[in-house]
Amino acid sequence: MPETTLIADSLSLMAIGMGTVFSFLLLLVLLLKGMSWLAEKLAPGGVEPLLTPAQVSRNGQTADAELVAVISAAVARYRSHRRQ
């Protein structure tokens, strides 16, 4: 393929590509707004109905567990250093 055809091809690819990306994400903006509106209709009151505090803490289970582990290890090391 001669370079000029390739340039033409890539120019049209650029136009169509950016067009598609923009259309796609613009449509997604609209759909997400619709989704949030629908979600509010279906389960009014936002976070509450589905996400009680108990559930929040359960969601954070792993991060929490790792944090506790990391902190305990750090504390243990700090203490062992101070003692000596």
Partner: protein
């Protein structure tokens, strides 16, 4: 004595080729960047070491019967590894900021201009003697501008397997350079007043919205751009594992075991594609230049779109957050936060930049889908 000769003929000293020595140096350089400069070490360290291993003469570790060659053909040629990593990314990502303010998707869209501008640049390079990129090559190179490792590897493995090594190295290197590349561009394109804008608190997002989100994104993808469905689909599957709240075990497996194991394998396998004849070529130089270009243009168009939104909303949007639209999660969002703090010490933009940041991930997957659909065959 015959054995001594056999042994000597099987040594590396007797078999080393100049290019292999250079590639081993390149591999060591990548490991150095990973360790000393903290350049995306999770990928660049295995890539660098894989490069060293594959360029050892005689051993053939990167060849069809070698460990790294076998891993490559099972995991990269098939596209399985980048897709599994994308699942893990989905399970690790909180799309809440994006759901709370969907308009930031436009910033993620604008930043993809870096991809398509680079596509043009790659093709234009063909006017320079020695370059001969096909449209497939150019597309695979352009995706570096998406600032998203798995997407780049997935696309390159489909469109230009020969360039995969260089593309992966460039993609991860530039992601690591985001804190250096972006700030000057961001400052050049914005006024101090714009950078000082304090944005409104994000609204809370309900669990139902978080659960519906993957389906909305996937539905759009299925309707408009099925070629992006493997990437978007696995990203959204991972996110659903995370947000559904009923499969904690699986979510943890996707976020830890699977992504860690696959990252080691993927890095080593990519390293095995860094051979002298493919990497020590003029193309690689072109790829590195184009990659830097891609990041810079993406950052610029992201910020420019931010400025448009700043005007359109009467100054409610800080244009800096547009720079996060290139993805490079979460580094780009942190850079935004830092540049924002420089302008106004009480201006925390991190959460606001997370919206365009994760939008950039979706945006570059969409761009990859377009390139696959149009340049793929």
């Amino acid at each position: 004595m015959a054995e001594l000769l056999t042994l000597w003929q099987s040594t590396g000293v007797a078999n080393f080729v100049w290019g292999q020595l250079l590639m081993i140096a390149v591999g060591c350089g990548l490991v150095y960047l990973a360790i000393a400069k903290k350049f995306e070490p999770l990928l660049l360290l295995p890539i660098g070491f894989g490069c060293v291993l594959s360029n050892i003469p005689v051993a053939g570790i990167g060849g069809p019967d070698g460990l790294l060659g076998m891993i490559y053909s099972v995991g990269v040629e098939t596209g399985i590894f980048p897709l599994l990593i994308f699942m893990g990314v989905g399970a690790l990502t909180d799309f809440g900021a994006l759901i709370a303010r969907p308009s930031t998707l436009l910033l993620g869209a604008a930043a993809q201009f870096g991809i398509f501008a680079t596509l043009l640049g790659a093709v234009a390079l063909n006017f320079v003697p020695g370059f001969n990129f096909t449209l497939q090559d150019a597309s695979a190179i352009a995706i570096i501008g998406g600032a998203d490792g798995p997407t780049a590897i997935f696309l390159a493995s489909r469109l230009a397997p020969d360039l995969l090594g260089a593309i992966a190295v460039a993609a991860y290197s530039y992601m690591a350079l985001v804190p250096i590349i972006q700030p000057p561009i961001m400052r050049a394109l914005t006024t101090k007043k714009e950078r000082e804008v304090v944005m409104q608190q994000l609204r809370p997002v309900s669990r139902l919205e978080r659960i519906l989100f993957p389906f909305v994104v996937l539905a759009l993808c299925a309707l408009l751009l099925p070629s992006a469905a493997p990437l978007i689909g696995m990203l959204m599957f991972g996110n659903l594992l995370r947000e559904s709240g009923v499969v904690e075990r699986l979510s943890r497996a996707a976020q830890n075991e699977i992504i860690n194991i696959v990252t080691i394998m993927l890095g080593l396998a990519i390293g095995s594609k860094l051979s002298a004849d493919k990497f020590l070529a003029l193309e690689t130089l072109g790829i590195l230049v184009l990659g830097a270009l891609a990041f810079s243009i993406g950052t610029a168009t992201g910020v420019l779109m931010g400025k448009i939104m700043y005007r359109a909303t009467g100054g409610k949007v800080n244009p800096l957050i547009g720079a996060a639209g290139v993805s490079a999660v979460p580094m780009a969002a942190r850079v935004v936060n830092r540049v924002g703090l420089d302008a106004n010490p009480h201006n925390f933009l991190l959460m606001h930049a997370m919206g365009p940041n994760v939008a950039g991930v979706i945006g570059s997957a969409v761009a990859a889908g377009v390139l696959l659909a149009l340049a793929g065959s």
